[in-house]
């Protein structure tokens, strides 16, 4: 449990760093760019989301660090073998479905818009290469 406590403390530290970095980026963007533009609006929303998520994690982890019972509960939640298996199955299934849907979208896009077609093609290639690389990595690792 001590190792897990250190791990959680490190997560709090990293989440705090993320908050500081993203908030700095947000402030710099607000000062130096066109506040009303669409990209600026999207970036602000994206950064707000990341910061909110990081703050939520910080609160959750600090609560767990203060209470040994909550820390053990968090440890069980994170190391539960069934939850891990569900995660692996979800990842595998969703990557297959994503590739299938993208392949169909690519076949439609080739008739409609070349830019969209090449974007989807690049995405499909990237996911395929990533899948193959990860398979090779875990085949060697496990």
């Amino acid at each position: 449990m001590d190792n897990f406590k250190i791990k959680v403390q490190k997560r709090v530290m990293w989440a705090t760093i993320y908050c500081v970095v993203f908030l700095t980026v947000a402030i710099v963007l607000m000062v130096y760019s066109d506040k009303a533009s669409y990209p600026m609006g999207f970036t602000s929303g994206f950064i707000s989301g990341i910061v909110a998520l990081a703050v939520a994690f910080i609160i959750k982890y600090i609560k767990a660090l203060k209470n040994p019972e909550a820390l053990r509960k968090l440890y069980i939640e994170e190391t539960d073998e069934r939850t891990k298996e569900i995660g692996a199955k979800v990842g595998h299934t969703s990557s297959i479905i994503t590739l299938f849907v993208l392949a169909i979208a690519m076949l439609v896009a080739v008739f409609l818009n070349k830019t969209v077609f090449y974007t989807i093609l690049a995405t499909v290639l990237f996911i395929s290469v990533l899948n193959a690389t990860l398979k090779l990595y875990y085949n060697k690792k496990l």
Binding site: D80, E81, R82
Partner: protein, 67 residues
């Protein structure tokens, strides 16, 4: 896989939550094992057997496992 976990729990008068906490898994995992939806790993099977002070074979029914 059939197990005697529910039976043993009743004998020892402990809840799924208590067993789950003792062996370091969630209550849902114990439920899934009891209703034969999920098969425990070797490590978890060992922890459960040790908790009830018995052997893995006494708790888990391996008769359906083909070798």
């Amino acid at each position: 896989m059939k197990t005697k976990i529910a039976e043993l729990r009743k004998q020892h008068k402990i809840s799924q939550e208590e067993l789950a906490n003792a062996v370091g898994v969630t209550r849902q995992t114990i439920t899934s094992i009891e209703v034969e939806k999920y098969t425990a790993s070797l490590v978890l099977a060992y922890k459960i057997a040790k908790y009830f002070n018995t052997t893995i074979e006494d708790i888990f029914d391996f008769s359906d496992v083909e070798v």
